[in-house]
């Protein structure tokens, strides 16, 4: 699906004759080449998972976090250029803090998604700024229950039951669609997300990866946090077992 946008792709403020903004599409390519990020909305909360590709054996485990807390009740998982992602997270944190300062209550997930997507979109409007080379999955739990949003480099934002970004997104989306999300609890959801990420990981192309999982659910007191270590290990074991089963047949 690659088309050469000769001449029309030099600036984010230029449309092509067929109405496309190539710079934004190229930004999306950066997201498509990154490690898979998955988010699902379960019955009692949200689970976010990232396939963190390890580029060097010297890297300390647990470093280079791809999932960040934005406020007590929400988390942002980043796919694409990690440094760009940090900028978005930083902006989201400050939006959440300023909302609470003004209105006296935590920002709703919908409002937060709105603000993040406006910010991402902003950077596609001026020639002196480049678009963010990352897509984010925002999961939060507020008065209206658990919600999942995905924001793309174009600034487009939608609410989802399940979302995936990155290399394995097609396969991941297929797997997510097979799940009965309305009946799944977050505890079960963790295992499912782990299985999906282990499943879409391409052993041939990328060697090592680290699984990063976080959740916001009734069990975590509606606060965004890393999945507790024991549950994380259980999920990894189950995922690996499922993988072996798949390989066996």
């Amino acid at each position: 699906m690659s088309s050469i946008g000769t001449g029309y792709d030099l600036s984010v403020t230029t449309f092509s004759p067929d109405g496309r903004v190539f710079q934004v599409e190229y930004a999306t390519k950066a997201v498509d080449n990154s490690g898979t990020v998955v988010g699902i909305k379960c019955k009692d909360g949200i689970v976010l998972g990232v396939e963190k590709l390890v580029t060097s054996k010297m890297m300390l485990e647990g470093s280079n976090r791809r999932i960040h807390s934005v406020h007590r009740h929400s988390g942002l998982a980043v796919a694409g250029l990690a440094a760009d992602g940090r900028q978005i997270v930083s902006r989201a944190k400050s939006e959440a803090a300023s909302y609470e300062k003004v209105y006296g209550e935590p920002i709703s997930v919908k409002e937060l998604a709105d603000r993040v997507s406006s910010y991402v979109h902003l950077c596609t409007l001026y020639w002196w700024l480049r678009p963010f080379g990352c897509g984010v999955i925002l999961g939060g739990y507020d008065r209206d229950g658990p919600q999942l949003y995905m924001i793309e480099p174009s600034g487009l934002s939608h609410k989802y039951f399940g979302a995936a970004l990155g290399k394995g997104r097609q396969a991941a989306k297929t797997e997510i669609e097979k799940l009965k999300l309305s009946e799944l609890t977050c505890r079960e959801g963790i295992v499912e997300v782990a299985k999906i990420i282990y499943g879409v990981h391409d052993e041939a192309k990328d060697k090592a990866f680290e699984l990063e999982l976080s959740w916001i659910c009734d069990e975590s007191n509606r606060q965004h946090q890393k999945v507790p270590n024991d549950l994380l290990e259980q999920a990894k074991v189950a995922a690996q077992a499922a993988l072996e089963e798949m390989d066996a047949d």
């Binding site: 976090r65 960040h68 807390s69 934005v70 406020h71 007590r72 944190k93 803090a97 946090q225 890393k226």
Partner: protein
């Protein structure tokens, strides 16, 4: 408003308020800064005991000499390891709680296994209070900060206080307001290292009772709170039994002579 003399039942404030009133009278400028407190809480008592720190105060807030609010929680948990108790201007206490909330939120979002301990929070509050004092716009409070945090030597208990002029120190027992005069002598005589929770509550109740009898801005509704390595617990309010059956109170007009 500038001419009104407010009754200041809180011990240490008088020095600061006198100089401020002199300034306002001399300069005559429109002061945009805090001149006097309006809604105030009275003493807070705290002491270290075996498992951590215990803190107690009454649930009243006065509007001058009127006991305006009777169900005010003047002790709050801060983060995972501390309790803060505030006497003095209640709105300033609420503002301080907001600052602490922002502080603990950004700490929480780092999610790196670290969390702010009582010593750090005390240090932060000292900076805030002292800097406001230097601008002649103080937060009119005496704050008590107590907590326990696991350190290299095990569970480290911490108790300190900081007031509106930025004076801060760490001690085994703290009292603010009238407690400085009435409770501290009792605490100095009867506090010991590693008291049990029951002993600590008894000591605290002894101090609270004296304050109830003698501090006109205290009310008979108290809250006790404790902080241990397990976390903070703020107990529901309760009252102490008082005794008024003194012979002198029985027939107060007995010795009265005269027609006035």
């Amino acid at each position: 408003m500038e001419e009104q003399k407010w009754d200041q039942p809180m011990g240490g404030f008088n020095a600061a308020s006198r100089s401020q009133m002199a300034e306002a009278a001399a300069g005559g400028e429109e002061s945009q800064r805090t001149l006097y407190p309006y809604v105030t809480g009275t003493s807070v008592i705290a002491l270290k005991y075996k498992d951590g720190v215990i803190m107690a105060c009454d649930t009243g807030a006065s509007y001058g000499s009127t006991l305006r609010y009777k169900s005010v929680e003047r002790i709050k948990a801060v983060g995972k390891h501390s309790l803060i108790g505030g006497s003095g201007e209640f709105s300033d206490f609420q503002e301080i709680l907001r600052y602490l909330d922002e502080l603990t939120l950004s700490d929480h979002m780092w999610d790196d296994g670290n969390s702010l301990g009582p010593k750090e929070i005390h240090s932060y509050l000292t900076r805030v209070m002292y800097n406001r004092r230097n601008k002649f716009d103080p937060l009119w409070n005496a704050l008590v900060l107590g907590g326990v945090k696991m350190g290299p030597k095990g569970a480290e208990k911490y108790l300190g206080m900081v007031n509106m002029i930025g004076t801060h120190f760490e001690e085994n027992h703290i009292a603010t307001g009238f407690g400085n005069h009435l409770a501290i002598p009792i605490l100095r005589a009867e506090w010991s290292e590693d008291m049990t929770f029951e002993e600590a509550v008894k000591l605290v109740e002894k101090c609270l009772l004296v304050l109830l009898y003698r501090d006109r801005s205290s009310i008979n509704k108290f809250q006790v709170a404790k902080i241990t390595t397990e976390g903070a617990t703020i107990y529901p309010p309760y009252s102490l039994k008082t005794f008024w059956g003194f012979s002198h109170f029985e027939n107060p007009a007995q010795g009265a002579v005269g027609s006035w």
